[in-house]
Amino acid sequence: MRSQSGRKAALDAITYLALIVGAATMLLPFLWMVSVSLRLPADQWSRTLIPSPITIQNYVEVWDKLPERAFPYLVFNSFKIAILVTVGQILTCGMAAFAFAVVRFRGRDVLFSLLLATLTIPGQVALIPNFILFKYLGVIGTQLPLILPAFWGGAFGTFLLRQYFLTIPRELVDAARMDGASLWAIFWKVYMPLSRPALAALAIFSFKDSWNDLLHPLVYLPTDMKRTTLTVGLAFFQQQLQMGGKFTVLMAGAFLSILPLLLIFFIAQRYFIGGIALTGLRR
């Protein structure tokens, strides 16, 4: 008995050691980002984690010194696109998920299987025809090609919400039906309000994917600093810095660009993690 508890303590120690080493590896790039962003430009390549002296000058310079004073524009563009994408996904995936989970209609299961099968089509396959479609609509160079596809549903979001809708007791539907509620009323007044955790998860995923997207803004948005997104703007800024420049300012910009998602993540962590676990469960 004694040796068994001794072994458990040893195993616990190894577990903690492995987890701490791993956690340090996960954290180091973030700590380094913050550290460099708080240094004087002269210290940008210093190898100490805690900067001395500490300065917030770089955060001020991001606002003024980014080419064309573009920072506020980049932030605005990123927020605008990500919010519209989120609204589009919640609305259209919610509608489809409700139809698949609650309503009885011919061809439902076939259509749902077809939708799920599209999860395996690589995104690059859609890139070329969508570019051509948007070119003929004359909207290349605007934000529309980034926003519009969010309003035509999607397999991931529909699947996630449907899984959650299926857990809502059917008696609620029957009761609402008895009271003469229409299909739309049951969707909008029963299912959507009761599904806040799943909706929050989808909202966070949609916002995150749009905010962090690199490929699509590169394809669709003009390459001038004021009209692209914060994420892509940073990539451009780095390219200009290769010639030699202040990496301290770049790191301040990078940290500001991940700040909104960090805040959302810390506030709504359980929805994030719950959402991923939900998609991993077998249907």
Binding site: V103, P122, A235, Q238, A277
Partner: protein, 295 residues
Amino acid sequence: MQYGLKPLGRERLWLWGLLTPTLFGLAFGTIGSLLATLLISFFNWDLITKPTLAGLGNYLSLVENESYLKAFTNTIKFASLYVPGVVISSLFVAVLLNRKIRGVSLFRTVYFLPAVTSAVATALVWNMIYGRDTGILNYFLEVVGLPPVCWLCRDQAMLSVIIVNVWGAIGEGMIIFLAGLTAIPRDYYEAATVDGAGNAQQFLRITLPLITPSILFQTLISAINAFQAYDYIYMLTRRGQGDSTVPVAVFSIYRNAFNFFKMGTASAQAIQLAVLVALFMALLLWLERRYVVYE
């Protein structure tokens, strides 16, 4: 008999209203795109002049196109290290976190951070960390007395980029595996302990077989991501004119379509990538029928 609510009268219109965006998406976003890409791949088209029929020409020329072959090989190399890397390391973290220890939620938060933050922003730091003369990784090597490594040069760049990609993907895999692990009934382990099975035996005989569905799911997700990996590779290895020291298939598709406006060539490459994903899925599903345990 299908379960579910029956739409009454005019509600049938509402039902189609609910489904219209999704049907639109299938037509223009996914299935329609697949068919359109397939169609375009049989033509030569620069989007300015009229498309001309190429037949199988775009596919045949892929075999002779050295830069594409290289990109395609790179994609396969990348996937063959990235997929096991993500699956094994995130399973490892999840198994550790599934032991009854303190601070699980704090560790979970930390491991998940890279999955939340943009690859562009974190790649900017990785670029500094990987720096040859000034990066801290080489500083660590120097401290332990090893020669510096040029992490992002031709020979090492592939491995360095895979490390960052795995770093970024552990969080999501960990969550998938934790969900699978917590679903295993505790009594199985208790019964095994009573029978005298050790930790290693319990892992091999209980945990591993019962978590095969999660392993399959995570392998699939990682493979789909591997064939589409772009952000970190772009940020860490890009050179002029959209080129890269580690060009993968997506780079090739992007350059052909949007730098050279060879829509037919790019489409043929995209189709080939899709076929590769489909073949890999078929393989996984075959393995699933043979080996995966469902309760």
